[in-house]
Symmetry: C2
Amino acid sequence: MNPKINFTPGPSQLYFTVEDHVRTAFRDGIPSISHRSKQYESIYKKAVDGLRALLGLPANYHVLFTGSANEIWERVIQNLVEEKSLHYVNGSFSKRFFEIAQLLNKKPEKIEASMGQGFNISDIVHPGIELVGITHNETSSGVSVPLEFIYSLREQYPDALLAVDAVSSLPYPDFDYSKIDSAFFSVQKGFGLPAGLGVWLVNDKCIAKAEQLLSKGISIGSYHSIPSLYTHAVKNQNPETPNVLGIYLLAQVVEDMVRRGITAIRKETEYKAALLYQALESHGTLKPFVQDKAFQSKTVIVADCGDHTENITKLLQSKGMQPGDGYGSFKKSQLRFANFPTHSKEQYELLVDTLAG
Amino acid sequence: MNPKINFTPGPSQLYFTVEDHVRTAFRDGIPSISHRSKQYESIYKKAVDGLRALLGLPANYHVLFTGSANEIWERVIQNLVEEKSLHYVNGSFSKRFFEIAQLLNKKPEKIEASMGQGFNISDIVHPGIELVGITHNETSSGVSVPLEFIYSLREQYPDALLAVDAVSSLPYPDFDYSKIDSAFFSVQKGFGLPAGLGVWLVNDKCIAKAEQLLSKGISIGSYHSIPSLYTHAVKNQNPETPNVLGIYLLAQVVEDMVRRGITAIRKETEYKAALLYQALESHGTLKPFVQDKAFQSKTVIVADCGDHTENITKLLQSKGMQPGDGYGSFKKSQLRFANFPTHSKEQYELLVDTLAG
């Protein structure tokens, strides 16, 4: 009911069907149903089956729910690392994943690139790595790591698990899930849902690793350890009273996306991204922050606006559009534009027409 | 919009104002606002200030938000116990609190009573206890521990922190917060809100203890450690993208409760509890599961129904009322009735009239 077109990269503009689903949820008493009821189990199953269909998850993958993607960073380290993880760090969120491993008293290592930069395949292999963590899409800088680079890490670290932070990219990327071991996201970005739910995809190797740590007497947490989450997941349940409304809304929106077709969603994402990058390239004063096209994110597009940041913001606001601020120290010189499935072609056309002024 | 009167003890019937607040939230675009914006900070502050007023929290208490009360069990142990906690166990939920300490590789001890029983003050003092955990209201059995008993633990364990699980009792109990150190609840019970948010009240001693563990090199978690939660709380923010809609709805419902008056809410709770216990005492075939009046919960009332469980359930359902099942092995012989602020006197009168049939 909010008239503004919201391009902030998270929490995002709601997926356009969410309000209808919320009305139905309250009409049907969903927020009060027991999380141990058959009715809840069928909602849970619908969300999981929908995600399997939308993302093309293989049978050896399992869908687990947490309170946030922030929690998943912690649970990944707790459940999948005895001592040493390796983190590719090129912005605030990938850095945070590394820091969480430090806070959990592991001995993480990192490979760093500057804000706005991607990574090149390296010949140097760090020894003793149990898990490689990489952020597919840095929400802070608009850098996206090519899928081929992610898959190359599996070849470099064949004995490590490969965990992909896909917080601000899914459902756009067409991951080959056989070449990674885990991916995760929070629902308030690409899925356009109210915040308060993290979705964690893990394969059988992750379950085995968590059980191996447990058998060594290492604490892997309690209610949200992988074995606890998995034991409940096979019954379409959660260990705790979960965000029932959030899981219901996810099930509904994923159904809408499956109906629309993931191929159409991906093509439209690419079309809208091309429109905006083209507008930024040809603009007199703006330019894409990420210069190397190989690393330009399709889902979070960052514009260098310099001294024009405030003016551009006002211009867009005057047309009912809200850009996202630049992240951290770039707050006054950059703007960020989410390009999620809820953003229509017409909204992107209005955006680029207004920028072209 | 669901016509049924829902007496299940959690998720509970929604507080009667929630649906209106949800409509307003979506109209105002609350689910899409940035959790780093001034607008969000004012929502956060309203929730915290409201809880301070409603519960009468002293200045040395702080309000922290998590994903669930289940998470708070884990964070209590992780942040406040180096080695040894003591747990009073008299049902499924108090037992779970103890087990979580075991899963986190601490060395918890326990004092047990049977399902349906309370505790007596004991002369035996367990040595080396850093934290005493007690469940004020056992949702599984309908046993409530008298406040005087809780306060007596502070005298027995003057050097330990005292953490009270008040999941299914708050806002009813009028705790003397100077005699405990922490209390916590989840919003889908007494506050009548959609599940997906835990509220953790901690005093300055809890902050100091967490910092002490941290300075010893012990991991107290990452984004949801007490120091991380507290550092953000003083700025009216969360470490992660939180359940923004949940915190907004909490702020609104707490405001409604403050307006109604906590004294009126407490008196009404006692009136409704007296009605139902009276009906059970005088009933031909039903009786209260908790026989000792000193331990009878005011907020979760459990009836022994024996072979009549199914018939009573059908009778209530025929009048539009949904009782809660008995917990675990009592599923076929007991019914549970939540007596929360959202349950009106008229609903309770209909309940007892129907039972008296």
